[in-house]
């Protein structure tokens, strides 16, 4: 997947414990890459894709990922589509899910305060440096060194999808054409895998995604979006940091 992952532990733990926690987190992320990469012929995903293993013989993790992708396809009206590019590619779910699981594992292993960031998607837990909430900047879609919003949160996930960095990398699966209408979508909520998938789906929907995002608020997912012509929209509960 080629994503750079940052891990910060803010726990007051012995240095050796912190180093162990970082090492086990990295080991998990490498394991995910080995098992779910679509670029590795011997990964479980590739073997499933070639029909060498049946669904029932897949690992519980892969079955979970495939089930979630199917649920998301329905929940997003088909706009989150693991088959959008042709063959199965669950990477759009796997990235957020693997970080979500990494954070759960850290919590179980004793880390109550940390963040993990993977390619602009972030999962944080507990309070940040100095005991205050984590401050997360949402990148401005035209000015790369500025933020459109600064968020403040303790537990939760922030995911952003945009057309500004990778050009037309998100496609509207209904038309097969590049997504247009929205330039940047940020979703904040309890689960990074869902936040990431929702942001991608809304981006693919275009401006209709604004209405769709508004409905996710009831499930605990707040959002912020910027249209191609520079209009900005936020849901009422977006945790904007006091300046």
């Amino acid at each position: 997947m080629g994503t750079v992952v940052s891990i910060e532990l803010a726990d007051d733990l012995p240095a050796s414990s912190l180093a162990d926690l970082v090492a086990s987190t990295c080991a998990w992320l490498h394991e995910v890459d080995a098992r779910f990469s679509t670029y590795k012929d011997d990964s479980e995903v590739c073997r499933f894709r070639r029909g060498e293993i049946a669904f029932d013989d897949c690992s519980p993790d892969l079955r979970l990922v495939l089930n979630r992708c199917a649920e998301l396809w329905m929940d997003t009206d088909g706009y989150f589509d693991a088959y959008a590019g042709g063959p199965l590619d669950p990477s759009g779910y796997v990235k957020g899910w693997s970080v979500e699981v990494a954070s759960q594992r850290l919590a179980l292993a004793g880390s109550r305060r940390h963040y993990i960031g993977a390619g602009g998607d972030i999962r944080m837990r507990g309070s940040g440096p100095g005991g205050r909430p984590w401050r997360v900047g949402v990148r401005h879609p035209w000015e790369a060194d500025k933020f459109s919003w600064v968020l403040s949160l303790t537990d939760g996930a922030v995911a952003t999808s945009g057309t500004y960095e990778r050009g037309a990398h998100v496609f509207n699966p209904r038309t097969g054409t590049p997504a247009s209408g929205l330039r940047s979508v940020t979703v904040v909520g309890p689960d990074l895998a869902l936040a990431d998938a929702y942001a991608t789906a809304a981006l693919a929907m275009g401006e209709a995604g604004l209405t769709w995002l508004a409905k996710r608020v009831a499930d605990g997912y707040e959002s912020a979006a910027v249209t191609d012509d520079g209009r900005a929209f936020t849901s009422p509960g977006l945790p904007i940091a006091a300046s």
Partner: protein, 169 residues
């Protein structure tokens, strides 16, 4: 009350790459001034066409050197200074990563230049959707992390690796 922090950067590519682990312990009441960077190494010709720099989440880790962090010794000994990775082209422009290595041999900052389309946003009040319309701000702020769309994967990793190689990782 002391605070311990560990930060690491790795990649999800095949090669296991843990770029650095920083461990520091600092009494909150007695802040110590961070040391000025000693050596600035800038031996790479300016290849990027002056795109704007983006502050990465790890970019604000200027911190006093640990007074009593024994784990510092066992960390990878990077040379201190500033190291630029090579400028890597992707279809949308040039990505170039610069890392700063502090006195303890730790990466204290990683900044990258990104393609900049030079498009400027306009605020255009229009039909109200169910999300409320807000003013699009462009603010600078001190943050712990940045959320944004990324297409820096391969280019970023390549340039970052080059910067690390220079630092002697």
């Amino acid at each position: 009350m002391r605070r311990s922090t560990a930060a690491a950067v790795g990649t999800l590519t095949g090669a296991a790459l843990i770029l650095g682990v920083r461990l520091s312990v600092q009494p909150p009441d007695a802040p110590v001034a961070a040391p000025a960077p000693v050596a600035q190494e800038q031996d790479e010709p300016e290849a990027a066409p002056a795109p704007s720099a983006t502050k990465k989440p790890s970019g604000k880790k200027s911190k006093a050197p640990a007074q009593d962090a024994p784990a510092e010794k066992e960390e990878a000994g990077l040379k201190s200074g500033t190291f630029k990775g090579k400028a890597v082209q992707n279809p949308y422009g040039t990505v170039q990563v610069t890392i700063k290595v502090g006195g303890g041999g730790k990466i204290t900052a990683a900044d990258a230049t990104y393609p900049n389309n030079g498009f400027s946003g306009t605020i255009n009040p229009n039909a109200v959707n169910k999300l409320s319309q807000a003013t699009l701000k462009a603010q600078s702020a001190d943050v712990d992390a940045v959320s944004g769309a990324t297409f820096t994967s391969q280019s970023y990793v390549e340039s970052l690796q080059a910067a690390l190689d220079k630092a002697g990782a």
